[in-house]
Amino acid sequence: MASGSTTPIAVTARADASALPGLIKDAGLFALVTLGLCVPIVSYRTDLGQGIGLVITSRWGTVFALCAAIFVLRFLQQLYLTGRTRRRAAHAPVAEGASRLAAILSPITLGIALTLPLLAALGAGSLGEGRYWIDLGILILTYVMLGWGLNIVVGLAGLLDLGYVAFYAVGAYSYALLSTVFGLSFWVCLPLAGLFAAAFGVLLGFPVLRLRGDYLAIVTLAFGEIIRLVLINWTDFSGGSAGISSIPRVSFFGLPFTAGENGFAATFGLAFNPMHRLVFLYYLILVLALVTNLVTLRMRRLPLGRAWEALREDEIACRSLGIDTTITKLTAFALGAMFAGFAGSFFAVRQAFVSPESFNFLESAIILAIVVLGGMGSQIGVAIAAIVMVGGPELLRNLGFLKAVFGEGFDPSEYRLLLFGLAMVAMMVFRPRGLISERTPSVTIAERAR
């Protein structure tokens, strides 16, 4: 097996090298055609001048950018297509290139995630100046966690849930209300928020037990909207659209992050720095996300987790094999919802403010897009998709040259949805089964000794 799998790689590499000039030529041709099309259409623009005449502005920068983009895209497409035909020719068993890629990416991603505050501090000069990166890291990790949570429901159990954000909202409001009304601490509220969300998961699960596919999607979508509308309209309970503010901040297991002498910094003999709390929040969401991941990985090896995956493939076969599909579905809903509840209470403690606006359908759609783009069931795929979907638009905002190309008024974050759409279309063309589409079996030969 080992020797059998190394040879094709070597062959692939050699073939790629020999095909390179051809690929460049092909991509160059495409760029040339683009140039030809651009000259009459894009390169000059006529504006009304001050007087009666028209003023011609040249836009060769845009033309060049378009040609370059076409070149790169065509090149990548060809590279991918030749690779794909070759992969199809070599009928490899279950695990192949994709999972090897995942094996390389996982430790790198994890390493960066673990050291991000340090990297940000070093890169930006000081912790305070690295704040942007840590904030971004927290945002991304929140979506990674939500993606992994939804992955249990959609990716593993195959139950299309369009209202996942409802559980996120339940978690957030659980903490917001329990802490402001009853004065409970975050560490008490966190498990409670998970439990409440799980209970809502079961609540949603019961009526939809018999539904599949489109019908399930519609009902879950409605469920998400119901929760949001209740939060908006039940003003006495949730504060309505004004939301709930001045939610207590997170503490270091009881020690507040304040400058006082009972604070975190004083207790540990550190100089007070407001960034401590942010770094702590970062590691908190990192741990929460990793717990989500570990639980999912563990579940996949347990009979229940395997039953989820089997359920996704064939419900009738599952029942004939003695699997109680009711329990199986409800546990998937409950567990997925529980992690959303955790993430929700984290969201509330970080923002110190919650309002129904944060839990609209678009959030559900983004989380679902992360799972779908990630490859429905692949853990590292979901993480990468979250980084791309959430971090991508943020980074775009900082790319100065885009302003140079598209003009001063250009704000890339306004094009976020357009980019989502483009990313989706590109995915459907290039990787219709998601970034990391190969599913790794949960048992392999080595494990049989267990």
Binding site: V94, P303, I316, L321, D324, T325, P441, I445
Partner: protein
């Protein structure tokens, strides 16, 4: 108590035991089933005794698969009763029936195509929580050597014959007393059909497995079976030993025309 009295008691006990062993393992009585308002089964009577191979033959659409699924509780029988090992299972949920030592290889095989062969077999062992998994996996590899080479291959990438073997092996992983097979020969090359049928016969002879097999391939099924039933549009019209049915002129005309002799 007198000696004669004891003798009477012993004899009575023996008679009772004999009656119990004679009672069929699976007893289907007057079962009718519907899909919405369409009646698919019209008062079916049949039984399978322990250690037997029983074949049910009939044309396409006769209701054979429906009967098998009705025994498994989906759809449930509207009238009549289904008894398995002395228990009334007519109104039981499918997954509970599956936990009573009945296993099936359903129509269309229904293997988990994204899962590896090994994982498919693991799903079959779910009723026991995988307690005898390693041992049973070994048994399946002996029974179907083809599967042994493909344990880590995705189920969906295997040939039709291999998938059928997997479906049967998966059913056997639950250590059933009664195995129900729905058209195991469908779409397979004659050589593969032979392999599968001989594996079934071996299981029956060596381990005493009771088998209920639904087939359109009447010739092979009746040769394999001890007894057989013929089903026409939702009702059993004929029954007898495998030999009797094979020799019956009506069966010959309807199901063995141009058959593989």
């Amino acid at each position: 108590m007198s000696v004669a009295g004891i003798n009477v008691l012993v004899e009575e006990t023996r008679a009772l035991q004999a009656a119990q062993t004679k009672a069929p393992l699976l007893d289907v009585r007057g079962v009718s089933a519907y899909y919405g308002s369409i009646q698919a089964l019209k008062g079916v009577d049949l039984h399978v005794k322990e250690g037997e191979i029983v074949a049910l033959i009939g044309a396409n659409g006769a209701g054979k698969s429906t009967l098998m699924m009705t025994i498994f509780g989906q759809p449930q029988a509207r009238t009549g009763s289904i008894t398995y090992a002395g228990r009334d299972i007519t109104r039981m949920a499918t997954h509970e029936i599956a936990r009573l030592n009945i296993a099936q290889s359903p129509e269309g095989r229904r293997i988990f195509s994204r899962m590896s062969v090994r994982e498919n077999l693991q799903m079959g062992a779910a009723v026991h929580g995988g307690r005898h998994f390693a041992e049973d996996l070994e048994r399946m590899c002996v029974l179907f050597p083809r599967l042994k080479e493909r344990l880590d291959q995705r189920g969906g990438t295997m040939s039709g014959g291999e998938q059928q073997m997997l479906a049967i092996a998966r059913a056997l992983m639950s250590r059933p007393k009664l195995l129900m097979l729905d058209e195991p020969s469908l779409g397979l090359a004659p050589l593969i059909v032979k392999q599968i049928f001989s594996a079934v016969r071996e299981l029956n002879e060596r381990e005493g497995l009771t088998v209920f097999i639904v087939e359109q391939n009447a010739y092979h099924a009746l040769k394999l079976a001890h007894r057989g039933y013929v089903m026409v549009t939702g009702a059993v019209t004929m029954s007898g030993t495998g030999r009797e049915l094979l020799d019956d002129p009506q069966v010959k005309a309807a199901y063995l025309e141009g058959g593989q002799h």
